[in-house]
């Protein structure tokens, strides 16, 4: 086991070296003189020397790489070229938590929605529910995230009454359907009837409450986790961005879990649980979920890494002060290389380490993989 982990960790090292090397040498790819490209048309005398020194371009490639790496190990990412005196490390420290928060919230939402839906679709494979949800998942995967974000803004910010009434109508319809099935009472059991009637009342109550208290979501103006306005404001301003990043992942997770769960449901131990008379929800949650979730967990980890990189789009739509907008606005758009390099290095390192950790945890989770290599 330790050997396996060790081998996997060792494999990360060359990747990290290449990643840092590529990031540091990025500037060599600029056609022509990178310093002139940065200064542009309106430079002051002395700018050339200052930028050359800041980027270390007066030294040769090898020593530049090692100097850069050395200072990064000391937490020094250099200064912004466009705003002398502002430390890149500080900017990274300010923006990284925002990106992490959006990704974490998106991830949590995706799992909370995808796991029940995927399990139920597998349990009822081939029925209308399964076909509709799988079809919807396929459609959602094809929506680019910036389009999904704008669609959400259109619905929840500009036309907030539309989703509000939709929730009201759908919720009341659901509640009526529950009542109807309680009255119809196919199974002829008093308990089932009561449960359905109670569920109908709860659904109706929740719907009315939600439609009444419908929150307004801001298009922009992110409230930080640590600000004085409180956590609720923070969640409200982070809600739509998180839904945007969650949408695609919901669809991806659902499809994956549905496939794995369907295979698990063919196993003998599920049959024996059914023979004992366990209710379906219990079978799905207690018996079938764990053995079906290995590839989901792997994918969730990979998706988390992807989300961290992918929040760039969401941050641009909702104007969040995250790492993506830092890289785009302060870095790429103005040719501020220390910002680009620092941001890219942090994100890539995070991604590599995360994937390595998943790789290792995978063999813990699935006993079948523990032995052997």
């Amino acid at each position: 086991m330790l050997r396996t982990i060790g081998l996997k960790l060792v494999r990360l090292v060359p990747v990290l070296i290449i990643v840092s090397l590529a990031t540091s040498l990025l500037i060599e790819l600029v056609p022509g003189d990178p310093i002139l490209a940065i200064i542009g048309m309106e430079g002051e005398p002395g700018d050339y020397e200052r930028i050359e020194k800041e980027l270390g371009l007066d030294e040769n490639v090898v020593s530049r790489y090692f100097d850069w790496l050395g200072s990064i190990f000391q937490g020094d990412f250099g200064e912004q070229i466009t705003r002398p005196g502002v430390k890149v490390a500080d900017r990274l420290k300010q923006t990284f938590p925002v990106t992490i928060q959006i990704s974490l919230m998106g991830m949590a939402m995706a799992l909370l929605i995808a796991v029940p839906l995927g399990s139920w679709a597998a349990y009822r494979a081939g029925t209308r529910f399964d076909r509709v949800s799988s079809g919807a998942a396929f459609g959602i995967i094809s929506i680019p995230s910036f389009l999904a974000g704008l669609l959400l803004v259109f619905m929840f910010v500009f036309h907030a009454s539309v989703p509000r009434y939709a929730v009201l109508i759908l919720g009341l319809a659901w509640s009526l359907w529950l009542l109807w099935s309680a009255v119809l009472n196919r199974h002829d059991q008093a308990r089932g009837m009561l449960l359905r009637a109670a569920a109908a009342i709860v659904v109706a109550g929740l719907t009315v409450w939600l439609a009444n208290k419908w929150p307004s979501f801001p298009r922009q103006g992110f409230v930080r986790w640590t600000s004085d306005e409180g956590r609720l404001e923070n969640f409200r301003s982070a809600f739509l961005p998180a839904v945007t990043v969650a949408l695609t992942e919901i669809a991806v997770f659902m499809r994956l879990l549905r496939g794995d769960m369907q295979a698990t449901l063919q196993e003998d131990f599920i049959l024996s649980a059914r023979a004992k008379g366990m209710p379906p929800v219990r079978i799905l949650a207690r018996d079938a979920l764990r053995p079906s979730s290995f590839s989901l967990i792997t994918l969730a980890g990979v998706a988390f890494g992807r989300l961290i990189g992918g929040t760039v789009i969401v941050e641009s739509i909702f104007r969040l002060p995250g790492m993506g907008s830092l890289i785009v606005n302060d870095g790429v758009n103005t040719g501020d290389f220390p910002v680009v390099q620092g941001g890219v290095l942090i994100l890539a390192t995070f991604y590599v380490v995360l994937n390595g950790a998943i790789d290792i945890s995978y063999s813990y989770l699935d006993p079948r993989l523990r032995r052997g290599r």
């Binding site: 494999r11 060359p14 990747v15 290449i18 990643v19 990031t23 990025l26 500037i27 790819l29 600029v30 056609p31 597998a122 349990y123 009822r124 494979a125 081939g126 029925t127 076909r131 396929f138 459609g139 094809s142 929506i143 680019p144 995230s145 910036f146 389009l147 704008l150 669609l151 259109f154 500009f158 539309v162 369907q262 449901l265 063919q266 599920i270 049959l271 059914r274 890494g305 992807r306 961290i308 990189g309 992918g310 760039v312 789009i313 641009s316 739509i317 890289i327 785009v328 870095g331 790429v332 758009n333 040719g335 290389f337 680009v340 890219v344 994100l347 890539a348 991604y351 590599v352 994937n355």
Partner: protein, 358 residues
């Protein structure tokens, strides 16, 4: 009681078979209802109720499209049997339309979509709402440029860039993958580290890094996107090569004294090519989204060349009042990506042996 039996438990159950095939008469009824109702709803929604609330018109039109789909589905199943995949054929049709109109954009009767200086004096209204029967079926933007024309020229850019990127990816990635999978050993390890490092960058971040140093022309865009696709192709080619290299026909060829070059080109490459090509549609779809994301951030191809991404980005500022600026290119893009995914999934089902074994 079917709902409570846990359908997946019945060992004889095969996905799709459970769906009760409709009778001939039911299909005919659906065909008739769908066709008449669908056409009526679309005509009313798009052309008659031109003064009504846009929300009602959209709902009516979408409902009409659903009815039309039902009619097409019934017609297809009546003619070709109940296994006819309507969605797939519609997807093929859409990809063909987009491809052809992008290829022949210069010959299509579309209004000015690129040159803002040409529309200043000819009286074209700015920010015109979509009206299918006018000269600007999908409306005009702030500079009085035709949105439909922009979508078609944008399709041209998107397809050119992503197809070129996939071609480069297949050529470079496929070659490296086949070589690594065939020779194995140290070379393979080295390639593995290279692939891992490329995959170590989150895709969009890699594109951003490249965009920060590259001049943003379509050709450079294609190269940057190819870099994104190369690791996938290396992995695909490598795995498939390793699978095929174990097969008897390769052994037979070796026993007959073939050179290594002959084995690679005559035995392996033709076999590896098919599963690799079967991924092309899906990767094109991914790259279209990647290119559009970059344009959306303002780091891709710039105006005056319209792309789906930069059209949406330009429209997003006040799209509560002019939603067509965002949603017209957005829907075109969604349909294209959806259709490519659908076709790509079918292609993989047909041509990827690992997929078929499952």
């Amino acid at each position: 009681m079917a709902a409570d039996t846990g359908l997946a438990l019945d060992s004889g159950y095969v996905a799709g078979e459970l769906v009760d095939p409709l009778t001939h008469a039911q299909r005919l009824v659906r065909l008739a209802v769908g066709l008449i109702g669908g056409v009526a709803a679309i005509v009313i929604g798009l052309m008659v109720l031109t003064d009504a609330n846009a929300g009602y018109r959209v709902v009516l039109t979408v409902g009409g499209l659903v009815l039309l789909f039902m009619a097409l589905d019934s017609a297809g199943k009546l003619v070709c049997g109940s296994r006819f995949e309507t969605g797939l054929w519609l997807s093929v049709f859409w990809v063909a339309i987009v491809g052809l109109s992008a290829a022949f954009a210069d010959f299509l009767p579309i209004s000015e979509a690129k040159d803002a200086s040409a529309t200043i004096f000819d009286g074209t209204p700015t920010l015109k709402r979509p009206d299918l029967l006018s000269a600007h079926p999908l409306g005009t933007d702030r500079q009085a440029l035709d949105v439909l024309g922009g979508i078609i020229y944008g399709a041209r850019v998107s397809l050119q860039v992503s197809v070129l990127a996939v071609a480069i990816g297949i050529l470079v990635g496929g070659t490296i993958g086949v070589v690594a999978g065939f020779f194995r050993g140290k070379l393979d390890t080295g390639v593995g580290v290279f692939v891992d490092s490329l995959l170590a960058f989150p895709p969009l971040i890699l594109l951003l890094a490249l965009a920060s140093v590259m001049d943003r022309s379509p050709r450079n865009m294609a190269i940057a996107l190819a870099v994104l696709g190369i690791p996938t192709y290396i992995r695909l080619a490598r795995v498939n090569t390793m699978v095929f290299a174990e097969r008897e026909f390769v052994l037979a060829s070796q026993a007959m004294g073939s050179t290594r070059r002959r084995i690679i080109f005559k035995e392996l490459v033709p076999n590896v090519a098919l599963p690799i090509f079967s991924y092309a549609f899906i990767i094109i779809a991914v790259l279209i989204v990647a290119e559009a994301s970059l344009s959306f951030l303002g780091l891709g191809i710039q105006r005056p060349d319209p792309t789906w991404g930069n059209m949406i980005a330009a429209g997003q500022d006040d799209f509560d009042r002019h939603p067509h600026l965002v949603f017209a290119p957005g829907i075109a893009m969604f349909l294209t990506v959806f259709a490519l995914n659908r076709v790509g999934e079918k292609a993989r089902e047909l041509w990827d042996p690992r997929q078929a074994n499952l």
